[in-house]
Symmetry: C2
Subunit: 137 residues, 2 copies
């Protein structure tokens, strides 16, 4: 199975498969004849796993660590539990940040609704942005 077919089967772009291959997450056999990469059922399964882990926000480096454990025959579960704790904290942080940002942006747009356009002058580059920042209440 070549890169495009595998990509289509699992619903990702060929470039994504190429990327995972390039960094060593996938190790297809290389055809001597034309240099094309051939993905065995085992590699297909590995990609499936990568995508499952990705959907839980595991990073590529996390997945490398998980594979490393599994390839040595050890249980990757402790690693997985430890890693997802980090990712959970990150996600919570990102969630809170995005929540705050969204509120700020909504407030700004509402404030700007009744304001006219103005040309820049003196220190004021855009009065919308300048004034919104200076009066945050």
């Amino acid at each position: 199975m070549h890169v495009r077919q595998l990509a289509k089967m699992l619903g990702v772009s060929p470039d994504t498969v190429r990327y995972y291959t390039r960094i060593g997450l996938l190790e297809p056999q290389k055809s001597i004849e034309n240099g094309y990469k051939f993905y065995s059922p085992n590699e297909q399964n590995r990609l499936r796993f990568i995508l499952s882990a990705r959907d839980l926000s595991f990073s590529v480096d996390d997945i490398k660590q998980i594979f490393h454990k599994a390839d040595e025959g050890e249980s990757p579960c402790p690693t997985v539990r430890r890693l997802i704790d980090n990712r959970l904290h990150e996600t919570e942080q990102r969630f809170q940040d995005t929540l705050r940002l969204r509120a700020r942006m909504h407030t700004a747009v509402e404030n700007w609704g009744g304001k006219p356009d103005k040309k820049p002058s003196g220190n004021v580059i855009c009065h919308l942005i300048d004034e919104f920042t200076k009066t945050p209440e």
Copy 2:
């Protein structure tokens, strides 16, 4: 005013100021004597504006466009209104994505709480991740 002093005054890292300078958002005068960059009050004001815009999620490229308008004496306000609409959609998308991800992760961690560690076998690399993906209900 040199890079470190300016950075400290506005609460960002010197590298951030250097970055904005490198990409042309700031244009300090260059001392002929020692090559150090000198930031005038006008440049200081520009950095203040950059940081205000950044806090509303305007990208560096957005800010370039805003500066371009303002430098030509035109009102950047229409540009600003158009750009923030895009950023608002992006932020909303990111918010929803993060919300969903957070729920998925919480569910996963709860499911994994009562499960033992297992060694990899056959097609299963990590049963926690594999089984969670396959039984999403």
